[in-house]
Subunit: 442 residues, 2 copies
């Protein structure tokens, strides 16, 4: 039996993740001590209501409503309360009292990360947040450490389990979004108020964190372009499948080179939107609530990290990995290694992004329409790669007078594309712009 140094651990929050973290800390204490080289003493668990029902039974004597007192004298503070305040205040208190911090709070890091990391740098503390980026998938250390000598060109991530579950079932079952969402809520995969997930807020927070790490640049949440999945319909899903694609909500973080007059000037784009992904792309095979982060680096080439993006016990695994790392650092001595943000790349507006698009139009079924549409695209500097005319009336049916045009473009500037779509929508021959989707990953 080794006589380990004892480290005092304070846990803030005992929800789905927090209660699992507490349980694992208590039941695996001997094993964790061997791993960390230090005994991890759970000093207390700060909660709003000590009598609230919990997923896991926790020792009553550890529960307290007084987080501030609990933090005093702690070596490691685990923040799993979520939200901005009081989490921010407690984390700053912990850092300033010399503790290392472990957090899964993506909303807080995406909005107040700079303040928190700066505070940690000032005192030589460390902030660990593996669980804030892609749940149980280890992605922080690969980006921050393993790829620190490489240049990340692009990240495409499926980082929200709820929306992937919804889109996957719409794809595989041909279901309507409303029905799948109701199911997801019943199964606990979606919140009663699903806004944060289906409007892409959760994915945007994670995108900001991933981009900051990948490009060694502070990326504020406001710099992330965000579109949710509510515009995705069953018929868009069906059309995508027909064309060899699947629609996924992607967090795309991209390095752009050769901006403006300087061919060496670099910038980054960070964006969240539903996009067409080719069936043959590894991301197309990510089903259900699973997450995956696809990384393209200059030297390492293509990498993919796959796993559970959420779930109490899964996320607890990531949190405990951070706790062990924090403990090892305490034992090893030295100051914390701060975030690497010196690249300081500017972020560009969505209008400056270059991707391929698929535009679906309902047009009048009469001669000269295709020439007219092609002319508008050409004037707008949008080059056509493929055109398919579909949904013509079957033989024997009465014509509706409309046809559907599915146009795949070559790479185009979003600003050009957007202006062109506006002109298309206003043109006589176009009845309706059915959908405009970006194509990613090829």
């Amino acid at each position: 039996m080794i006589d380990y140094r004892r480290l005092r651990v304070a846990l803030l929050g005992a929800g789905a993740v927090g209660s699992q973290v507490a349980d694992l800390l208590l039941t695996h204490s001997a094993e964790l001590a061997d791993r960390a080289g230090a005994e991890l003493e759970l000093a207390g668990i700060a909660v709003r209501d000590v009598h609230a029902p919990r997923d896991v039974e926790l020792p009553a004597e550890l529960l307290t409503t007084d987080a501030e007192t609990l933090i005093v004298g702690s070596d490691i503070v685990i923040e799993l309360m979520g939200g901005i305040e009081p989490a921010r205040g407690y984390i700053l208190q912990a850092i300033n009292s010399g503790a290392d911090v472990v957090t899964a709070n993506k909303a807080l890091l995406a909005t107040h990360g700079v303040e928190i990391f700066d505070a940690a740098d000032q005192v030589g503390a460390s902030v660990y947040y593996e669980a804030a980026a892609a749940g149980a998938i280890p992605i922080i250390r690969p980006l921050r450490d393993s790829l620190a000598g490489d240049r990340v060109q692009r990240i495409m991530g499926i980082v929200n389990g709820t929306t992937n579950y919804i889109l996957d079932r719409m794809d595989t079952e041909g279901a309507e979004m409303a029905d799948v969402l109701a199911d997801a809520q019943r199964l606990g995969y979606a919140e009663a108020d699903p806004t944060a997930d289906i409007e892409g807020y959760d994915a945007a927070q994670k995108a900001a964190i991933l981009a900051s790490l990948a490009f060694h640049t502070t990326v504020p949440l406001q710099a992330v372009h965000r579109e949710g999945i509510t515009s995705v319909t069953k018929s868009m899903m069906d059309a995508a499948r027909h064309a060899g694609y699947v629609i996924k909500l992607l967090a795309v973080c991209e390095r752009l080179t050769g901006r403006g007059d300087d061919p060496a000037a670099e910038a980054i784009s960070v964006r969240v939107y539903p996009a067409l992904v080719a069936r043959s792309h590894p991301l197309a095979s990510v089903h259900g609530v699973n997450n995956a982060v696809f990384v393209q680096a200059e030297a390492a080439g293509d990498l993919m990290f796959y796993g559970a993006g959420a779930g109490g016990v899964q996320t607890a695994s990531a949190v405990l990995g951070d706790v062990v790392s924090a403990a090892r650092r305490h034992i090893a001595g030295g100051v914390g290694v701060g975030e690497s943000t010196r690249a300081g790349l500017p972020t560009v507006d969505i209008g400056q992004v270059v991707t391929r698009y698929q535009i679906t139009l309902e047009v009048r079924d009469r001669p000269g329409v295709l020439a007219r549409v092609a002319g508008i695209l050409s004037e707008g500097h949008v080059s056509i790669a493929t055109v398919e005319q579909s949904q013509q009336p079957a033989a024997g049916e009465a014509g509706t007078g409309f046809a559907r045009l599915v146009i795949g473009t070559h790479k185009a500037l979003e600003q050009d594309l957007s202006e062109t779509v506006t002109r298309l929508a206003a043109d006589d021959v176009v009845e309706r712009v059915v959908s405009v989707l970006r194509v990613e990953g090829d």
Copy 2:
């Protein structure tokens, strides 16, 4: 312009990986300094012959044949010579002179890892080896740090690109191994002497490293059961495809619970062999020279890490990530965090492993044969899950007098299975044991 502290970096070896590392250190020096918080000064490159031709042109004034002198006064020593000696001696010299070490030398770590890690612990140095486990795929930090608070149950890795390339082409093209191997050698995917790859030695070294990390236990190379792919034939490949499987060379690292009389006693099994993997398993989609490591952990669930397993520039990415980590540690101060091996789990012999099997027999085509075969299996404690009789003569053809039986078993003890196969082979009704393959991943 920040005035960074300067760290002296010595590079040993300038082969496919080493020359790329040197090139990236020189061309990306400003960017690497920003990432590391220290200037990485490449002090010299030790080679056997300063005039030898190289993949990348390197400054002549950096080349030296005197590694020992180069190491003196270095902060970080990168060992990319390969082989046991003199690499081992140089690494120990570097550690004892206070340097941190970065190495991609899997053969050395799998055989002399304990000596090297102990030497580093003695002086508080760190040894980094991301490139030694799965090339460019970041797997060391996820196992050592991210999953340090979890319990890994099993790893299944495709960790050798050469054999995956060969098996993949045999599968997708129905090709013969000899033809594909010749192609692989022409393309540079296989060595002129392919023994280390196709006999599984390379995979076994990586398996020992992965198992050591995953189970916090020193796993000596001798404890790894190793079988290569030379026994895999085109007809085995075809039969596997027909049955919904693909044959992959897997490195399997498994935690076994409930050994002997103690239900809580744990042990580990580490083994490399060609195995049947269901087509629906994520590992079945790993094509060409790519690698992937599939990890099952108690809390985190299923994770997969995918990417390039080899290649000079890809592996250089992993090496440089380690160099940046070493530099950050130098700047942060503190001692190196040693390997976590205190779990000290025993490794079991292959005979104690429990898996499913697929046994293919050529049997005499006469009544009572199946009953006889089933009887032998039952006596040997091997339970049958499925039986398929195939390759019977087509209508109109003359019978050969033989039929083929493909038997899928339930989970069985390898020792029981092995004894049973010996009895089957000796029995009158069995003409030939065509193949015995383990089934992994379900």
